[in-house]
């Protein structure tokens, strides 16, 4: 990175953070601090919801996933459009009608205090675990780019988010997310354009090469439950995951509760329903095109070159050097046969084309085996090597192939993405802790200013917890899958709680509470002893919770349907009226 890159990086990241903090200063009103005074329009909400989900992991790890496995991961998002439609139609009106600060407050109104605490507790557990990983991802970037110790970069990456989230609350989060998304779209768009320009083949030729190496198989109709990403796991299992994530995870619920009206919140969700799949497809395609690029350009045997060069110093047997040399030879041969294949296609010689393609595919298998051996060798020499190599693919391309200035913009995009989702997470963790635990259990009578102060302290607390966890996240495999596996362990059960709340009006708190606990044990059992894709955990957890709650309620005797719609909740106690 050059001086220009650092100027672009720090001015954009710190500029957005400082601006957001300054604009949202003096937020002593609890409603303003936690719900942004409910003044946001659909565009801000739409970008906020998008920014909350699309963390640095999305922009760093997903292109790497495209590089390694092709477009198949797009199926993971197939549940998003329908999930958002259901949330807009059913969940959102309920939350607004009840005027809740947290999704779990709604559970308390519908059922009882213990069910509310269970829902909130599962959220804190799940999001608290994930928060550490989402700090870890951008820290890898800094660590690689600046050659700083990883732990130091973890601490620095977390502190910026903690500061402006604590200072400005929900509105600071929404405001900064809007500008961070602008930086992200600009950076990724420019990267895609430059990649297309640098590709040593036309786009149709590049897609032909990608297809030959099975990178364009986006839709898989397989019904094998062990297959991680298929149309069915994405549509059914993914639907439940996305329904739970967008509908019951406070980090998302808090974003659209800031809407100035139900209409604005709904439109913000519909914006995401329309754009999510195209956006993820584009990011994966970026990774696929990076794969094609490196078939014709020199490629490192291992993309984590910082760790590779450090480990070479300790490679007494010389195995790593040999693998590196072997890979270079194979890569050159593959490049030769790929060029021969494309030439034969242009000349209309199918026999030569078939032969050249077969040669290229055979050599590719050999070179992939060498890459796998090299990764193993690296981990043998340096066991603490962070993450999967595919996490370093896109950042390697950015640092080595993009012009100065644009590098800074892309790194700023990665950081912007990390900070935007981190801030939303911290804001949600603090809100839930304050409203569902602190105010509900410990301090029921206090002023709004007191709860705002409590929220700030809880923001700092959770920020420090996330930092501490990130320091131990080095052993997580592919980051984006780790995040989603953790989510899937708990999301299904939480969704079950909400589905019972919305649709099974004759089931009460005791039945659903115990059903949820049993369902959680079942999901954990599948994870540790079963052999199904993690996307199915959501469906399993939700189904067990719903069905078991019905059975338990049948034993207890069904409750009569309420005569009138449930009443509204009050705002949290503490004189948090309009004056606050």
């Amino acid at each position: 990175m050059s001086l220009l890159d650092f100027i672009v990086l720090f001015s954009s990241i710190l500029g957005i953070a400082v601006y957001g903090t300054w604009r949202t200063r003096h937020r002593d009103n609890l409603k303003a601090y936690l719900k942004g005074d409910e003044r946001q329009g659909w565009a801000t909400i739409g970008l906020s919801v998008m920014a909350t989900q699309a963390s640095a992991i999305t922009f760093m790890s997903t292109p790497g996933q495209g590089y390694e496995d092709g477009l198949g991961f797009v199926q993971f998002y197939f549940g998003v459009p329908l999930a958002l439609v259901i949330i807009a139609a059913v969940f959102l009106p309920m939350y607004r009608r009840f005027n809740v600060y947290t999704a779990y407050e709604f559970l308390g109104r519908r059922f009882d205090g213990k069910t509310r605490l269970l829902g909130a507790g599962l959220f804190l557990l799940q999001r608290g675990l994930a928060a550490g990983i989402t700090i870890y991802a951008p820290a890898i970037i800094l660590s690689r780019m600046l050659n700083w110790p990883l732990n130091l970069t973890i601490v620095l990456a977390g502190v910026v988010a903690i500061v402006y989230t604590t200072a400005g609350g929900s509105q600071a989060v929404s405001l900064t997310q809007k500008y961070q998304m602008g930086v992200i779209f600009a950076g990724m768009g420019i990267a895609l354009i430059i990649l297309l320009i640098k590709l040593p083949a036309t786009l149709p030729q590049a897609l032909t090469v990608a297809g030959a190496f099975n990178k364009l198989h986006a839709v898989d109709f397989s019904t094998d439950l062990r297959q991680r990403y298929t149309l069915w796991s994405g549509l059914l299992g993914g639907l439940f995951l996305q329904l739970s994530y967008f509908g019951t995870d406070q980090s998302q619920v808090q974003r659209y509760l800031t809407g100035s009206s139900l209409r604005e919140s709904r439109l913000g969700l519909m914006f995401n329903a329309l754009c999510k799949i195209p956006m993820q497809f584009t990011i994966l395609l970026l990774g696929v095109l990076v794969f094609v690029f490196y078939q014709f350009e020199p490629q490192p045997v291992v993309f984590n070159q910082t760790a590779w060069h450090a480990a070479l110093q300790h490679d007494a047997s010389g195995r790593m050097q040999k693998l590196d040399q072997q890979f270079r030879v194979l890569h050159a041969q593959k490049e030769h046969w790929l060029n021969a294949w494309l030439q034969a296609k242009r000349e209309g010689d199918p026999a030569a084309a078939r032969n050249a393609r077969a040669q290229a595919e055979a050599i590719n298998q050999e070179s992939e085996a060498v890459r796998a051996s090299a990764t193993d060798a690296l981990k043998t020499v340096s066991p603490l090597t962070a993450g999967k190599d595919s996490d370093y693919v896109f950042i390697t391309f950015v640092l080595e192939q993009l012009p100065h200035g644009i590098i800074g913009l892309l790194i700023a995009a990665f950081f912007g993405a990390a900070l935007s989702s981190k801030a939303a997470e911290l804001n949600a963790l603090a809100s839930t802790t304050t409203i569902d635990f602190y105010q509900h259990l410990l301090k029921t009578e206090a002023t709004g200013a007191h709860y705002v102060a409590a929220s700030k302290w809880f923001t700092i607390f959770w920020g420090l917890v996330a930092l501490a966890f990130a320091l131990f996240a080095s052993f997580a495999d592919n980051l984006i899958q780790a995040i989603n596996i953790i989510g899937s362990l708990f999301y299904g059960v939480v969704l079950g709680l909400f589905l019972v709340a919305f649709f099974l009006r004759r089931v009460g708190g005791t039945a659903v509470f115990w059903a949820a606990l049993v369902a959680q044990v079942v999901v954990l059992g599948f994870h540790f002893f079963g052999n199904v894709s993690y996307l199915w955990y959501n469906l399993i957890g939700c189904a067990v919770c719903v069905v078991l709650s019905l059975c338990l309620q049948a034993l207890l005797g069904f409750e009569p349907l309420p005569a009138s719609p449930p009443a509204e909740t009050s705002v949290p106690a503490g004189k948090a009226g309009s004056a606050e």
């Binding site: 459009p81 990608a210 297809g211 986006a218 709904r266 439109l267 449930p566």
Partner: protein, 61 residues
């Protein structure tokens, strides 16, 4: 929510819909005046995307 159901006590009775809530039922989008129409557009666009993605793998095998 009645206390007999075990729900936390609410401090207000159900309130009638405000004018703002009535206007929430209108989307304000040209050509898509109702929310069911908006949802239908979302579902259709999703199906189109799935079809295009499937075709991409078939065109470049």
């Amino acid at each position: 929510m009645s206390p007999a159901r075990g729900g936390e006590p609410a401090s207000k009775r159900p309130r009638p819909q405000t004018p703002a809530e009535l206007t929430d039922q209108v989307t304000g989008l040209p050509g898509l005046k109702t929310w069911p129409r908006v949802y239908a557009v979302i579902v259709v666009s999703f199906l189109i995307w799935v079809a295009l993605l499937y075709l991409l793998g078939k065109v470049f095998p």
